[in-house]
C-alpha cells in the first residue's frame, strides 16, 4: 500500500504534521520505519521527514554533550570528543546499519534493540522533544516509561553530561554472534566517584523489561560505597530486582535473569 510522504524543511513543521496525524511516523535512518513498511505494517499511512540541519548537529565541545536526533552511529564513532559513546555506538549493527541508524531512532527501538539508549539511560540523558504543544525537555527515564505514547512527538536531540573519567562510565552488550548480533542483555553503568565513594550511581539494563530500565536496587547497593568486592557482589545479587525480561529467539527470560548479575559483576569489576 502506498503511503504519503511529507518532507519539511524544519523540525517544527514536521512535528506539527506528526502530532496531527495518528497514522504518521517520523522517518529517521529508516531502520525501524522502513522495516515496518517492508513487513506490511498498515498502521502507517504517512511518513514525515525533516531536512533540518539542526537535527544532525553534534555539540561535543563542552562538559554537556548534545546529539541531534538524526546523528548516525557512524558519526558518533567519527567524533573523537565522543569517545565515551564509542563502545555503545560500535555495538550496534554492521557498518551499513551504523551509517543509517540514528540516536533519536534508537530511543524507539523495541527490545532486544536500543543498545545506545541503555548507555544514555545510565548517563541520565535529557530528551528534547517537540509535540503539538511546543518543545520541552524530558528526562530519558520518563521518556522511556511513556514511550508508547510518544509516537506523536518528534525527538529533536538528546543531551547528557560527559562522564568525569573514562572509568566512570562502562558499557557491555552480551550477544551470541560477534562482532554483530542482537543483544541477549545490555548493561551500562555510570559511577561518579567523589572522595573515594560512588555518588550518583546509575545502572541501566536493556532486554530486561519491555523498555530499557534502571536497576535501582543495584544502584542502591553501590551508592555511597567504594567500588570494592563487597559492593560489587551486593549490586550483582540485586541486579534482577524490578526486572521483567521476556523470552525471544536470542535467550529466555530465565536465562536473562540468570546472567544479568554475572555480567553486572564483570562490568563493575572491569573484567573482559
Amino acid at each position: 500500500m502506498a503511503v504519503t510522504i511529507k518532507t519539511f524543511a524544519n523540525a517544527s513543521e514536521a512535528a506539527g504534521a506528526l502530532s496531527s496525524d495518528r497514522s504518521a511516523r517520523y522517518l529517521g535512518g529508516g531502520t525501524l520505519v522502513m522495516r515496518a513498511l517492508n513487513e506490511g505494517d498498515v498502521s502507517i499511512s504517512t511518513i514525515v521527514r525533516a531536512q533540518d540541519q539542526a537535527l544532525t548537529r553534534i555539540d561535543a565541545s563542552g562538559p554537556r554533550v548534545t546529539l541531534g536526533a538524526g546523528v548516525t552511529f557512524a558519526r558518533v564513532l567519527a567524533e573523537r570528543d565522543l569517545a565515551f559513546l564509542h563502545a555503545p555506538a560500535r555495538s550496534i549493527g554492521g557498518p551499513a546499519v551504523r551509517n543509517m541508524g540514528t540516536v533519536g531512532g534508537n530511543l524507539f527501538a523495541p527490545s532486544p534493540y536500543g543498545d545506545f539508549t541503555v548507555a544514555l539511560l545510565a548517563l541520565d540523558a535529557t530528551v528534547a522533544v517537540q509535540g503539538g504543544f511546543g518543545a520541552r525537555d524530558i528526562p530519558i527515564e520518563e521518556f522511556l516509561q511513556a514511550r508508547d505514547r510518544q509516537a506523536g512527538t518528534l525527538v529533536l536531540s538528546v543531551s547528557c553530561t560527559r562522564p568525569a573519567s573514562a572509568d566512570a562510565f562502562r558499557y557491555r552488550k552480551i550477544a551470541r554472534i560477534k562482532p554483530k548480533g542482537g543483544a541477549v542483555i545490555t548493561l551500562a553503568a555510570h559511577l561518579p566517584i567523589s572522595g573515594g565513594r560512588i555518588a550518583g550511581a546509575r545502572v541501566a539494563l536493556g532486554s530486561m523489561a519491555p523498555t530499557q530500565i534502571r536497576a535501582r536496587a543495584a544502584e542502591r547497593a553501590l551508592e555511597g560505597r567504594s567500588l570494592d568486592a563487597t559492593a560489587i557482589a551486593a549490586a550483582a545479587s540485586a541486579a534482577t530486582e524490578g526486572t521483567s525480561p521476556s523470552d525471544n529467539a536470542l535467550g529466555s527470560a530465565w536465562y536473562r535473569r540468570e546472567i544479568v548479575g554475572v555480567h553486572l559483576r564483570r562490568l563493575l569489576s572491569g573484567q573482559e
Binding site: 502506498a2 504519503t4 510522504i5 517492508n38 554492521g94 557498518p95 551499513a96 546499519v97 554483530k180
Partner: protein
Amino acid sequence: MSKIPLQFRHNGRDVAIFVDGGTNLLVALRELIGDMTPKFGCGQGGCGTCSVLIDGELHLSCLTLAETVAGRSVETLDGMKQGPNLHPLQRAFADNFAAQCGYCTPGMLMAAKALLDRNPSPSRDEVVEAISGNICRCTGYEPIVNAILAAAGGRVSA
C-alpha cells in the same frame, strides 16, 4: 495516489523514475531500473545482501526510502566491473572461492568496496568488522575474508 518523480545517479548514469510513496530503494533499483544485482534477503536490515553505496557510504537499500536518494549517487554491484574486466574484488572472490550460492555476494562485494575505498590495506579484524552486517550461510566467511585481503594486497589473477 500519485507517483513521485525521482532522479538520481545510478552507477554514474542519470536515471529518472516514478515511485509509489513508501517504495524502498531496492524495489526501485530492481523493478523500475532493472538492476538485479542488489538482492532481497530479509527486508529487516539483518542480512546485508541489498547493500549499496549511497554517495560512497554503505547503506541497506531495502531500508532506504527511495526518494531520499534524490540527486545523490547510488552505486551497486552492476557498476563495479570495468567494461569486460572484473573489478579486482570480483576477481579475488572468484580466485578464493568466496562465493558458493552467491546470494550474499553482491552485498559482500559492496561492503568490501566501502572498506577498501577508505582503507586500502585493512587488517583481518577490520575486514571481519566491515562485513559483519552481511550474512553468508555457505562459506563460513573465511574465503570471503581471504578474498578481500587478497584484493587489498593486489594478489589477484589477471
